[in-house]
């Protein structure tokens, strides 16, 4: 954090402006201007960002593979309505993060640490670092899978991922970082294009919205699918990211309504694109999901090429590259925010690398660490990718409980505390996530130790 608060001028007695303040005030002046002149769409354009990035960032490589695998193995029936329900859950959680960030101007890690003590702050940061590292490895795997379709190897995947991280950080402005990542994130729509290219039967997609029971399989498979699909929609990094990004963007309580539009737009886009991956994957259903086993070696896009043509395979492969790249940027950012907040030093894209060395170092360092793993010959990349979402689901309840506590803290939030209905839904989400994650963890452990049969 920046320490001096008194101006160099003995006359003014004003707080010293940091570069971070100046950059943020530039952004805020545009928001004020748009609001004063009632330019609604321009105001919307200025205030969207953290919500869409959190939601589309979570439509990452492992998540899109998980949706496509669901479609390839079970068809559309259960999952088409299930995905929007999960994103509705994600909206409830993320709206709280945005609101707390806009009202307090502080990140999640910082508030937990200061309000509830260092133990809880560091536990949260520890959970985040663990799940982020595992997830980042999975993102590099997704880029590698996508690039393998074009006969490019791990080295290119690593170079692309790291180059993007460094490039987006180079501007020293939150606004620039956000707009670049937002531009990339819109290419998540490639999964919708892939779904159109496989020429699905429109009637069967529409019919799938009538909730059908789970299509079959063992209890453990059901739990795995639930845990990994939940982990594909709500994760600890999203909580850290959206609250910190809302504060970094300079959002205020006046912007909460637009923050809600932003989060809702992100949830709708993510659900539509997620269903796109599901529909594309369902094209493989008639072929017994063939090709999924070759996932680690670019099996999915290749399998799609055989079934629906080269264009569908190429678009799906490009979608995986995009999904992995955007997630690397947002997940690295959430790690950097958490590191800066917990150590108590400057943590903003609006600060210069010299002014926020730990923030920038954590951002690049965590991406480099994950990139190193995928270069290790024989590393269990497939297992890591498949277990990343499950681990996130298991660790999520603690982060969510602390989030609900912050959103109910009258001392911090004043009139912006949660409504009773938000609390009821929030607690139901925590219970659902906790039960699914724990049930899968316990059931798998009992099977692995041969206490129960599979």
């Amino acid at each position: 954090m920046s320490t001096p608060v008194i101006s160099a001028s003995p006359l003014l007695r004003q707080p010293v402006l940091t570069d971070e303040d100046l950059a943020r005030s530039h952004d805020r002046s545009r928001v004020h201007h748009a609001r004063r002149h009632r330019r609604r769409w321009h105001l919307m354009w200025l205030l969207v960002g953290p919500g869409i990035l959190a939601m589309l960032g979570e439509n990452d490589g492992p998540s899109m593979i998980a949706y496509a695998s669901d479609g390839a193995q079970y068809g559309l029936g259960f999952f088409v309505p299930f995905i929007p329900i999960l994103f509705a859950m994600a909206y409830v959680c993320q709206e709280m993060c945005m609101r707390v960030g806009a009202v307090t101007h502080r990140g999640y890690g910082e508030l937990v640490l200061q309000r509830y003590g260092r133990v809880w702050g560091w536990f949260g940061a520890g959970d985040l670092t663990l799940t982020n590292l595992v997830t980042l490895v999975a993102e590099f795997v997704a880029i590698r899978v996508g690039l393998a379709y074009f006969h490019l190897g791990s080295g290119v995947a690593v170079a692309l991922g790291l180059a993007l991280v460094v490039f987006t950080l180079s501007g020293g402005r939150y606004w620039r970082w956000e707009r670049i990542v937002l531009g990339l994130a819109l290419f998540n729509g490639l999964f919708l294009v892939a779904a159109i290219l496989v020429k699905p039967h429109v009637g069967s997609v529409v019919d799938a919205f009538a909730f059908t029971p789970f299509p079959g399989g063992s209890f453990n498979t059901l739990l795995l699918l639930l845990a990994s699909t939940i982990g594909a929609t709500v994760t600890p990094w999203m909580i850290f990211f959206q609250q910190s990004a809302s504060a970094d963007k300079g959002m205020t309580p006046r912007d909460v309504t637009h923050g809600r539009y932003d989060t809702a737009a992100g949830a709708v886009l993510a659900a539509v694109f997620g269903i796109g991956a599901l529909v594309a994957g369902a094209a493989l259903l008639a072929h017994d999901g063939s090709g999924i086993q070759g996932f680690a070696g670019a099996g999915f896009p290749e399998a799609l090429r055989h079934v629906a043509g080269g264009a569908a395979g190429a678009v799906f492969a490009l979608g995986l590259v995009e999904a992995g790249a955007v997630a690397i940027l947002t997940i690295s950012a959430s790690t950097a925010y958490a590191a800066g907040e917990c150590v108590g030093v400057s943590h903003s894209f609006n600060s210069s690398p010299r002014g926020a060395a730990i923030f920038y170092a954590a951002n690049i360092g965590v991406a480099m660490l994950a990139a190193t793993v995928i270069l290790i010959p024989g590393a269990p990349l497939l297992s890591i990718a498949l277990n990343a979402n499950v681990l996130a689901t298991v660790l999520l309840p603690v982060s969510l409980v602390l989030m609900v506590m912050l959103a109910n803290d009258k001392g911090l939030m004043g009139q912006w505390v949660n409504k009773r209905s938000t609390n009821v839904i929030g607690i139901a989400v925590i219970a659902f996530v906790g039960i699914c994650g724990a049930a899968y963890g316990i059931d798998s452990f009992l099977q692995a130790t041969h206490v129960i049969g599979s």
Binding site: M1, S2, T3, P4, V5, S7, A8, S9, L11, Q14, P15, V16, L17, T18, D19, E20, D21, L22, R24, S25, R28, S29, V31, H32, H105, R106, Q114, R115, Y116, G117, W120, F123, A247, T252, V345, S346, S352, R354, G355, A356, S383, N387, V390, L391, V394, L395, P397, V398, V401, L402, D409, A438, Y440, G441, I442, S444, F445, Q447, A448, T449
Partner: protein
């Protein structure tokens, strides 16, 4: 540490910058900071918020949840390692 840019960035000892430019810059920065809420300044957000009193029941609940989550995480990690074999 962030590089600080004081509201008044030059002293009378800075002859290279004409006074009119200085006034203009000062006015511009003054206008800019009007768009930030007082508690948005880095100087303000650097101050920690006071610690919230947690009841014994809330603390016990958080610890129980934490222990439970750690145990389940270890189970997931064990299963993950087993699957590798």
């Amino acid at each position: 540490m962030s590089k600080h840019t004081p509201l008044v960035t030059a002293t009378p000892m800075s002859p290279a910058i004409p006074e009119r430019d200085l006034q203009s810059q000062e006015r511009h920065e003054d206008e800019l900071i009007m768009h930030l809420e007082r508690d948005q300044f880095v100087a303000e957000t650097s101050r920690p918020v006071p610690r919230a009193p947690l009841s014994a029941r809330a603390r016990a609940g958080l610890w129980a949840l934490r222990v439970f989550v750690v145990i389940v995480s270890l189970m997931v990690l064990y299963t993950f390692v087993e699957q590798l074999h």
